[in-house]
């Protein structure tokens, strides 16, 4: 069924041809338009989160010079920064944006299998973003509970935003999860169902593998966040005691009793750790495709890469309590979670080796996407290594809640996925818009971002080892040495430099939309299906009258004896030989 010609498809698969501007660009069911809507929304909130970080960095770097960022505002900005970046930017952009764009195109499908649901997913996502943004404008402002939202403090008097902000945050998360579930059902079902003829699982590009497994993780892990959000909402609104213990607040007896704050932490991290891989796995996949294409070499160890993605996905469900070593637990649990945490480093390291081996003796083209992809290998390795430190209970105890942790997760989950996102945006920009971007601006963007972020995050590891705690509005001169404070100032300068240098990116993207050179259908000479569409940018329905057929895997670069250094997946084998078994009838 997946490869029936357009006219024969069942009625659900009929294309809804856009009639007016509204159905074409606003309420559109074309996966590519939805992808762009998702991406633009995600990047827009991402910019908000970046500006927030510049504000609180100013406070940290120069604590006596700004009245703007009061302690309350500091916590609110930090909280919103973290939550927006993790959920509303990274998750939405990787899955809603690139998932939507790449899955049908790379698998040779005309669209997602449930286009209407797909459209709905975007609009519900937009509602969740608007709810979250609304919390800036209500009395009391957004919540300042930290992105982990730990109770009891998140809903106890004294925490900023306790009257309205936390409610909007929890509501927005719940709505986001609904949106994600609608999108996720689509991505999984499309991968299972709508691959074109010849596109077996083991011929899928790694981008699709990463997005697919990440979506499965999301579908299983987001419910934990939903459970936590619902129960905390009830604790707050109705006065139940799911998470709230008996306590004295503001000198009086609180209204709750018997709840368990640690239960929330379990739920949050049962979601939270898979979440980091929901972001990381699509990045792993996409960076593999970019590296292979621009090194003109097949990906090293394709099957190992697939297995590693699957293994990391599975393992990521059994490591969550490594975020809770300081919350106190049975020593055997600590041992268990430390072990699983260190085990997950094995498939992860394997992937890094394979990327490096893919580059080894390749015909490396230092294009802008390639620079970002190579940058990713560096930042990800650094972040992964500090993860090994933190995975050990005894090493983690003194480092927990210090800038070392901030350094770790920003290297591994901040900078690395963002570098991949830039690599991916530059890589697929010609397909999305039909034009090339400016190489010069792109290279400026790369070097400023890479060197700038290193200047920001490397010193943080040192601060952490010194013992500088995270989530402090101001340290005062007795609490940390002057040298640490001057390092803090330097970090702030670098952070603002990085933020400003993103202008290169935005100017480039907008300017090239009109003025970029026409790219043609396949400027990178890539093999995967999205580069073989009859139109660039691809039109609604993607493939004209006939769906593509796949004859080979996605990485036939520099094959000996071939005229060109790449063989598209659609190209039939030469000399009429069909190797392997008897095809077409096996079930």
């Amino acid at each position: 069924m997946a490869y029936v010609a357009l006219a024969d498809r069942d009625h659900e698969q009929h294309l809804h041809h856009p009639q007016s501007w509204i159905t074409r660009w606003v309420f559109c069911q074309d996966h590519k338009v939805i992808a762009i809507q998702y991406s633009i929304t995600a990047i827009a909130v991402g910019v908000v989160a970046m500006l927030l970080s510049s504000m609180f960095r100013m406070q940290l770097g120069f604590p006596d010079s700004f009245d703007l960022v009061t302690p309350d505002k500091y916590y609110q900005y930090v909280t919103m920064h973290g939550m927006i970046m993790v959920i509303y930017l990274l998750t939405a952009l990787f899955l809603g944006g690139f998932g939507n764009y790449l899955i049908p195109l790379q698998l040779g499908a005309r669209d997602m299998v449930f286009p209407f649901l797909n459209m709905l997913s975007y609009w519900v996502y937009l509602v969740s973003v608007l709810i979250l943004m609304a919390s800036f404008f209500i009395p009391g402002g957004p919540t300042g509970a930290g992105w982990t939202l730990y109770p009891p403090q998140a809903i106890s008097a004294g925490t900023p935003g306790v009257n309205g902000g936390i409610l909007l945050m929890l509501l927005s998360l719940a709505v986001f999860i609904v949106a994600f579930t609608m999108g996720g059902l689509n991505y999984v079902t499309t991968v299972l169902q709508a691959r074109c003829r010849g596109m077996t699982f083991m011929r899928m590009p790694l981008s699709v593998w990463g997005i697919f497994v990440a979506t499965v993780l999301g579908l299983l892990a987001f419910p934990a966040l939903l459970v936590a959000a619902i129960m905390m909402l009830l604790d707050n609104l109705i006065g139940t005691s799911f998470f709230m213990p008996e306590m004295l607040t503001m000198g009086g007896q609180g209204e709750h009793n018997g709840g368990s704050p640690v239960l929330f932490q379990h739920l949050f991290w049962f979601f939270g750790h898979p979440e980091v891989y929901i972001v990381a796995l699509p990045a792993f996949g996409m960076v593999s495709d970019v590296l292979s294409t621009h090194a003109r070499k097949n990906i090293f160890g394709y099957r190992m890469m697939v297995w590693a993605i699957v293994a990391i996905g599975g393992l990521s469900f059994v490591v969550w309590a490594h975020h809770m070593y300081v919350s106190g637990m049975n020593p055997y649990f600590g041992f268990f979670f430390a072990t699983t945490t260190l085990i997950i480093a094995v498939p992860t390291a394997l992937k890094v080796y394979n990327w490096v081996l893919t580059l080894w003796r390749g015909d490396i083209q230092l294009t802008v996407p390639m620079l970002f992809a190579i940058g990713f290998i560096f930042t990800f390795t650094h972040g992964g290594l500090t993860g090994l430190f933190l995975g050990n209970v005894t090493v983690d105890l003194p480092l927990s809640d210090t800038y070392f942790v901030i350094g770790h997760f920003h290297m591994v989950m901040g900078v690395s996925p963002v570098l991949v996102l830039f690599a991916a945006i530059y890589h697929w920009y010609p397909k999305i818009t039909g034009r090339m971007f400016s190489d010069t601006l792109g290279k400026w963007h790369f070097w400023c971002t890479l060197l700038g972020t290193y200047t920001v995050y490397l010193p943080m590891h040192y601060l952490g080892i010194l013992g500088v705690p995270r989530r402090y509005w101001s340290y005062g001169s007795d609490f940390i040495p002057d040298s640490a404070q001057s390092l803090n100032s330097a970090i702030t300068v670098a952070a603002i430099f990085v933020a400003a240098s993103q202008l290169f990116f935005f100017i480039n993207m907008i300017w090239s939309l009109r003025n970029g050179e026409k790219s043609g259908p396949n400027p990178w000479n890539a093999t995967t299906l999205e580069w073989q569409t009859p139109n660039t940018p691809a039109v609604h329905g993607n493939w004209g009258d006939k769906l593509p057929e796949v004859h080979r895997w996605a990485y036939d670069y520099s094959v000996p004896g071939e005229a060109r250094d790449f063989v598209p997946q659609t190209e039939p084998p030469h000399e009429g030989v069909v190797s392997g078994r008897d095809h077409g009838v096996e079930h």
């Binding site: 069924m1 997946a2 069942d10 009625h11 659900e12 299998v113 449930f114 579930t181 996720g184 059902l185 689509n186 999984v188 079902t189 299972l192 169902q193 691959r195 003829r197 010849g198 077996t200 699982f201 083991m202 011929r203 499965v216 579908l219 299983l220 419910p223 934990a224 939903l226 459970v227 619902i230 009830l234 109705i238 006065g239 139940t240 005691s241 799911f242 018997g258 368990s260 739920l267 049962f270 394709y302 099957r303 699957v310 599975g314 469900f317 796949v550 004859h551 080979r552 895997w553 990485y555 039939p572 084998p573 030989v577 190797s579 392997g580 078994r581 095809h583 077409g584 096996e586 079930h587």
Partner: protein, 224 residues
């Protein structure tokens, strides 16, 4: 902890199933030419979508159940009183689910009248179940058990509420299928009958699932 392990095992099982170890062992990248080896692509996308969705719902409720059972161990737990009404409601839902099964069988034999009657009955009994659940809430509040009274009460309201919301979602699809069923059939249009058949089938799967879920919840409420 046992339940937690169970859950992780389940998650693992789902992952492995989804990813089809068999498919992962092939070396299709080495072979050139068209290969088709998909057992999936013959299924209707809606069916696959439904099963994936049931996986999500399972994850959601399983987490609640784990928490429920852990919480019920504490000494301040005051279990809800046994209620005849809940048994009565359970019977209603069983009948609803059975009616859907009959509708599904009728669809298998192409008997439109059977589809119509059983499908409608299923919806009516399901709505009756939901009304009954609201009565159960009323009984509970009348007895002085509010959501914040005791964790057992809180969980009862929360879980029955969420279960009801899932049934409401099902009823939305059911309403569409039922209107379709009562429309005059167009003998020219084969896809119409096939579409109806599929939605009846999927509704029955969803209803059986929610019945099973309710039975587990009911057992949990009465056994702790």
């Amino acid at each position: 902890m046992n339940v937690t392990l169970l859950f992780t095992a389940l998650v693992g099982a789902i992952l492995v199933l989804l990813l089809l170890v068999r498919q992962l062992r092939t070396k299709s990248w080495l072979e050139k030419g068209i290969i088709t080896e998909d057992s999936f692509s013959t299924l209707a996308p809606k069916r696959v979508g439904l099963f994936v969705f049931l996986g999500v719902v399972t994850s959601l409720f399983l987490l609640f159940m784990i928490i429920y059972n852990e919480r019920a161990e504490f000494p301040d737990w005051r279990p809800i009183a046994d209620s005849r009404l809940l048994w009565f409601n359970t019977a209603l839902l069983v009948i609803g689910s059975a009616a859907l099964q009959l509708a599904r069988n009728a669809a298998g034999h192409g008997r439109l009248s059977g589809i119509r009657i059983n499908l409608t009955a299923a919806g009516v009994f399901t709505i009756a179940f939901l009304v009954g659940q609201i009565y159960a809430w009323n009984q509970l509040t009348a007895a002085g058990h509010f959501m914040a009274t005791n964790p057992a009460d809180a969980f009862f309201y929360l879980l029955t509420g969420l279960h009801g919301v899932h049934l409401l979602g099902g009823l939305f699809v059911w309403a569409k299928a039922t209107t379709n069923a009562w429309q005059k059939p167009d003998p020219e249009d084969v896809s119409q009958a096939a579409g109806l058949h599929l939605s009846v089938q999927l509704c029955s799967v969803y209803w059986h699932y929610l019945l099973l879920l309710w039975l587990v919840l009911f057992y949990m409420f009465t056994s702790t």
